[in-house]
Symmetry: D2
Subunit: 173 residues, 4 copies
């Protein structure tokens, strides 16, 4: 099949160095902080960002009671094999936004795990989408389950994806 | 709050260089190939892996009619702020597996986009989970919509997540 | 096991007669009407309600461009085996609201089918919940796929469930 | 608009009487029984079927450890306004199958509520589909959350829908 590409024709690879700090530092510190304290420290750079955020290039930009916002500038390193930003990037931003929105409601000593998430892909994302903003908000708090929703928007404010999920509260007092 | 960590105490950052090839090469070549031809060329290294796979460190290992398999060794660079592998990695693997399972059914000239995906997180994933395998399979093909499901398993074969999604066929003849 | 109940102790059954009209009447009439015309005729009683609405006791109360509202008074006939209104009633109301919200955007000759729906059950529903209102709205229209969301509220306005779904447009010109 | 139908032309309504027993009888009895005992008593007719099953005409036909099966013959009373069986019937059967599959794992004194469900509609259902069978199975049990999946098939064994959901265990000892 003549449409295949000999590796010699692939051109120079592009590259980027990613770096992160030991994730156990933040996770350990987090155990003695409420969710709001922990996430606020992260927003303000007083705790290291988690490795996944460094790897994919996204940032927790803001938190409020029951809400969280992330931003990410999609670039070529996020592309899938069909010439667009991989849906997994959008899922990751939304999973982060929903999880952290839940986390803001937890007191010190409590934790959470995501039970499930559903993402609707409304619009294709490319590097031309500009800065993405993912916003998560709690639709119903609970001692055991927290219901959360969210959306991701491109730089023009158009919704590119929406999400619906749930988190399980663990270790709560 | 004494649980915060001055940056001086964060220790040496760990780092990794990621590199990828121009994603338009593969996407362009793919237009004249059937899904099976395109994905097989990728499995066999005759086309460059997509950037997102290089960024997150996962690999398309195998395809069959209506099925696709990915693998990924989760490591510290995938960690979230609560000390585990970020659910977004699992979503990305499953979104890939479901999308490529759909893609195997498409003839040259046809494309697809993911409409939505829902992921159930059955078990926490850490670097101790070992090599993850994500498997996607078509539950119902269609000229317009393809229904797909999948699961992700750890090195011990335990299901860590399941997924249910749909893809829209576009440009089909 | 002494907790079983001999049928003689079940008491008098309660009963209700349900009645409906031939559903092919409305479906046939609908083919020559736009979605808004068709649904408006149903709201205004100029077309018979669909059988499922008679069976479960719910009503399409209002439509607008890209939106639809249903109401239903939950009663004992909707109860599940664990002493609450069955989640399926809420799913049915939300599936209706999302589908009809999509339908309002279709011109005569076009139809749709629901691809999938995800429902979050935020609060238990009982006959004490009072009149439920399900509201569906389009989050992104499209020639092929329409993205829709919705919520269901009790008589006090509290959200009891949210939904996220997609519809496939068929036969559009 | 001449496609409207004066009520005089709607023809004779069709009707059916539905009847059920006080749902508190079963729910009360259930509190002292394990899930398997309770559901087995229901399969065997030693407890009254829940009202929703009478209203919609479906039956719990079998249970096993972590599994449940329902059947339902779709008829005209389940039709939606676009000439097919309403997706809500399929959701109701699947929500039942997933919930009861979870319930089989619970000991006396424990209960559950459905957290969420996602349903993929693979094929349209009509009265020609014949007897539907909905099967639910637990993909991962848990002390707090039970993960469940399921499918619904027509009389020919073709999958008409699949479901993915989660249940919260409550009151467990």
């Amino acid at each position: 099949m003549n449409s295949e590409l000999p590796a010699a024709s692939w051109g120079e690879p592009r590259s980027r160095e990613i770096s992160w700090h030991d994730p156990s530092l933040g996770a350990t510190a987090g155990r003695s902080m409420s969710g709001m304290e922990y996430l606020t420290a992260m927003v303000e750079g007083r705790l290291p960002a988690p490795p996944i955020a460094q790897t994919l290039g996204f940032t927790l930009t803001s938190v409020a009671e029951g809400e969280a916002w992330f931003s990410c500038e999609p670039d070529e390193s996020h592309y899938n094999p069909i010439g667009m930003v991989h849906g997994g990037l959008v899922c990751t931003l939304l999973d982060s936004a929903l999880g952290c929105a839940s986390h803001t409601l937890l007191s010190a000593g409590a934790g959470y795990t995501s039970i499930e998430i559903k993402v609707n892909y409304l619009r294709a994302v490319t590097s031309a989408s500009g800065m993405l903003t993912a916003h998560g908000w709690v639709t119903k708090p609970g001692r055991r389950v927290i219901f959360v929703e969210g959306d991701a928007r491109d730089a023009a404010g158009r919704v590119v994806a929406t999400a619906s999920g749930t988190c399980l509260v663990v270790g709560s007092t």
